[in-house]
Amino acid sequence: MKFRPDCHQNEVTDEQIACHRRSFLKNAGLLATGGVLAGCDSRAQPASDKAAKGAECAPYNVLCEDITAEKYATSYNNFYEFSLTKDGPSRLAGDFNPHPWTVRVEGLVESPAVYDLEKLIAGCHQEERIYRFRCVEAWSMVIPWNGFALHHLIKKLRPLSAARFVEFETLYDPKRMPNQNRQVIPWPYREGLRMDEAMNELAFMATGMYGKPLPNQNGAPIRLVVPWKYGFKSIKSIVAIRFTDKQPLNSWHQIAPQEYGFYANVNPEVDHPRWSQASERRIGAKASLFNPRIKTLPFNGYGEYVAHLYKGMDLRKFF
């Protein structure tokens, strides 16, 4: 199935059918075998009412584009804590054990403490989100994540009113993440969001993908997913959440401030100083030498949900 960028949201009926069909496929166990995705296919068979009932058809779920094959999404990614190559993390993270896992909650928050992960996320409404994922290196995927909206967790933790930003930190443990023995990055990896960005409905905490627990190489046991920003914002294997009143220093900005900003919103108008961000290579259901480049969309196609956060800001300056 080809990527169809001209597939629009206004075809509600089609989309619902597609959504139902998706859910039907999932129930039938077909989706897990990878590669199959209902698009906005009006010929799609409407699923039974039973199948449709449990379907979560949030409008921001990507339904009209091929889902990236699970084998690609789990074997082609950046995770410098394990390796600097794309296939390295999947080869080298096998022995990593993400259990038990604790998360330090600190800073301007009512309940600073070290939490067991299970306790931390208990009660957060679980759902599936199908998001585009756009790497700053100009490749992209469409990934079904499992997890919960970040705002559920933040509300539960109750930050103080002075908190304007939230900062995340990846595990630093060179024994378990061997590439941390090399000083490629000032470890630990750090990322952050402005509080209103973090509270946006789209900001997501993933504990799984493709209906399975998050693989180690993809940031087990818990990671951030911010679909309208470049992939490096979506920090993996989180061990600390810190609420602050100052803009956090995120790792890539720290390494190369002229190339990577704090906001890192996907923006085809603002090129990386060394390469264009106007288009991307989509890694879809099947890798092929002949897949055409596709146009990169402002905010990765999520403008209607997030553009208001940046009203009045010069996005060339705050890239």
């Binding site: 082609y76 390494i255 060394r274 290579r281 890694i283 897949n291």
Partner: protein
């Protein structure tokens, strides 16, 4: 008669063997392609693969003269031309893949890339400068150009530096690999500087 044939074979065999050897990286790429084994991002894979082989062959070409002199093996000169042409062939493949599979023959995009992206500017320049060298590699061209041939082919030193810059400027964070190649390149160029200054 038979002796002639044997000596001709001896003469040609190493060259033919080298040519076959030099097609192996390409054959491997075709094999990987036929087995759907070009990673999740095949265009990127093929780009990197052809580029890195062009650079390897370039360094190998440059290594011939020092190896001849250091190990007293003048016979190696027989292989230099083949290596040089193979370098150009892989570089041309690299450029062709970029233009066709990556840019889909969008020449406006190509032009913008060349003007705006320093790593593409130097990479393109390296390929461009390499082309007259490949075209003047026949015995006839060598004879026709006389002393100018050597002058022209000194461009290879500049091309080497451009190719290394091309690699260094395109990586995101890990400079290790491009710097290894650059170190070898600088060593090979330094050898010539020392030789020339004596």
């Amino acid at each position: 008669m038979l002796q002639d044939a044997v000596s001709r074979f001896n003469q040609r065999f190493p060259k033919v063997a080298l040519i076959i050897l030099l097609t192996l990286p390409f054959a491997n790429l075709v094999y990987l392609g036929l087995h759907d084994d070009l990673s999740a991002d095949p265009v990127e894979y093929v780009l990197h693969y052809t580029g890195i082989w062009a650079l390897r062959l370039l360094l190998l070409t440059l290594a011939i003269t020092p190896l001849r002199q250091l190990f007293g093996a003048p016979v190696l000169i027989r292989f230099r031309r083949i290596l040089g042409i193979a370098t150009w062939v892989y570089a041309t493949l690299h450029f062709a893949v970029y233009l066709s599979l990556d840019l889909q023959f969008d020449f406006a995009h190509l032009w913008q890339d060349i003007l705006k992206r320093p790593y593409i500017t130097v990479g393109f320049l390296a390929w461009l400068l390499m082309t007259p060298l490949a075209l003047t590699s026949s015995n006839r061209a060598v004879r026709a150009l006389g002393r100018r041939w050597k002058k022209l082919h000194r461009l290879i030193y500049l091309i080497t530096l451009l190719a290394c810059l091309h690699f260094i400027w395109l990586v995101k964070a890990d400079l290790f690999e491009p710097l290894i190649y650059t170190a070898i390149a600088l060593l090979l160029l330094f050898y010539r500087l020392v030789k020339a200054s004596r």
